[in-house]
């Protein structure tokens, strides 16, 4: 189970609603996480001035938007919001979204690398009873 980075043009959902999933306000808490997203989404400082969002598609087929946030005094991106792209007025399924986001984390952690390993993420998830860990 993994996720696929896609472009805005590849988004299948037509006229989607954006449903807030979560926000990370301190990507620089451990700098490797910011660097991993910069590399994966080819972000440049120019993105802080009206650049495009990032998108991914989960293996479930659901699609998500990553809004990269800029903050004075910090390197870009300082944070990231994740929104589910929901077709029309469809209801959202919280657990289904949580499963997708878990797989996003499983994709992200190896991108960070070093001491941040998939094994450690999954072990942490198991201790805390994350169903998909």
């Amino acid at each position: 189970m993994s996720i696929e980075i896609v472009t805005a043009a590849d988004i299948r959902a037509k006229n989607p609603r954006r449903v807030f999933v979560m926000v990370e306000e301190r990507l620089g808490h451990y700098a490797g996480f910011r660097e991993a997203l910069v590399a994966a989404f080819a972000l440049t400082p120019a993105h802080a001035d009206g650049g495009p969002a990032g998108y991914f598609r989960a293996s479930s087929g659901r699609e998500y938007e990553l809004v990269f946030v800029s903050r004075s005094g910090q390197r870009f991106p300082s944070g990231v919001e994740i929104h589910a792209l929901v077709p029309g007025f469809d209801a959202i399924e919280t657990d289904a979204i949580d499963e997708d986001i878990w797989h996003f984390l499983e994709w992200l952690i190896p991108c960070v690398g070093g001491e941040w390993t998939l094994e450690t993420l999954r072990s942490t998830g198991k201790v805390y009873k994350i169903p998909w860990a």
């Binding site: 999933v21 979560m22 926000v23 990370e24 306000e25 301190r26 990507l27 620089g28 808490h29 451990y30 996480f33 910011r34 990231v80 949580d98 986001i101 878990w102 984390l105 992200l108 952690i109 001491e115 941040w116 450690t120 993420l121 072990s123 942490t124 998830g125 201790v127 805390y128 009873k129 994350i130």
Partner: protein, 312 residues
């Protein structure tokens, strides 16, 4: 028809929680935020300070025991926890803001001859307040906490602690999955069946949704791991100030504590060589859930000595 958000309605605790926490809820505005607290009894005040992810409910068994012994017992919920306001932005929270909130609370109540009882984040916040106004302090009781910039092994390990509050991982685990309340508390008490039946619903009730859980993920990030981390300077000041403090002190520690292991109790003893203890009680990190009566007995015996009243 009420249009209040959930966590305002939550101040009306349901009967199954109130029966364990039968105290009048009071509120005070501090630094622009509404702070919830319990204030019971008369006498010299005792301030009971909780940490992450609990609230004054943690001290529900302390309150009647200390009140019956002739003390005024005050138990606030940190801003961001319990029935207090919960600011919605991570940048609203810092160790310094928490200390300022608590110092403002103490000043507004005009507390004198105060005993500060603290555990987890109640330690850095409560001890800082004691050191800011030592003339108002009668004694401090430290339990399963720390007051220095160096992390414990638990806090410096990637598994599980640093992974839990890593970027992007943290809002997922702490806020969407509520892991500290749903699992962390359970793993950090000794009497687990009793905890599940009696206490977990109360901790769960005050954190019903994503927004209400924000501080559970911010507090871990405020624990300094390196000398230039954002709370490190305040923690250095705290340690240096404690070293020269003569405030009467009692050290109580959980025998099963792993977050702040026994070495932390000994480090407090080195900082405060005049302190009584460490006294070891049955208890993991949330030792108030495990041994409330025994801890209260130790506190009362200690305070009787401080007051020159002999043993209770």
């Amino acid at each position: 028809m009420s249009t209040s958000p959930d966590y305002t309605v939550a101040s009306e605790l349901p009967p199954e929680i109130r029966k364990h926490y039968p105290f009048a809820s009071r509120f005070m505005r501090v630094n622009g935020h509404r702070m919830h607290y319990v204030d019971e009894g008369e006498g010299d005040p005792v301030l009971l300070l909780h940490g992450n992810p609990t609230w004054s409910f943690l001290y529900r068994k302390f309150i009647p025991l200390l009140k019956a012994a002739g003390y005024r017992v005050i138990a606030p919920d940190h801003i961001g926890f319990g029935l207090s306001d919960k600011p919605a932005r991570e940048h609203d929270y810092s160790l310094e803001n928490h200390i300022a909130n608590l110092a403002g609370f103490i000043r507004r109540l005009g507390l004198k001859r105060l005993t500060v009882v603290c555990q987890d984040w109640g330690g850095p916040t409560g001890l800082a307040c004691a050191l800011l106004d030592p003339a108002a302090i009668k004694a401090v009781v430290v339990m399963n906490t720390w007051a220095w910039p160096e992390p414990t092994v638990f806090h410096s390990s990637v598994f599980p602690w640093r992974m839990m509050h890593a970027p992007v991982v943290a809002p997922y685990l702490f806020q969407r999955r509520n892991i500290l309340v749903e699992r962390g508390l359970y793993l950090s008490v000794v009497h687990r069946e009793r905890f599940l039946a009696e206490a977990l619903p109360a901790y769960r009730f005050v954190m019903p949704d994503y927004d209400s859980r924000l501080l559970t993920r911010v507090f871990p990030r405020l624990i300094p791991l390196q000398s230039d981390d954002r709370s490190a300077a305040t923690m250095r000041w705290l340690e240096q100030s404690l070293r020269s403090s003569t405030i009467p002190a009692l050290i109580v520690w959980g025998k099963e504590e792993i977050v702040f292991p026994a070495e932390c109790a000994q480090r407090f003893k080195a900082l405060l060589p005049h302190a009584k203890g460490p006294l070891w009680v049955t208890g993991s990190h949330f030792l108030q859930e495990d041994s409330p009566e025994e801890i209260c007995w130790h506190i009362l015996a200690f305070l009787s000595g401080v007051d020159g009243r002999g043993q209770p």
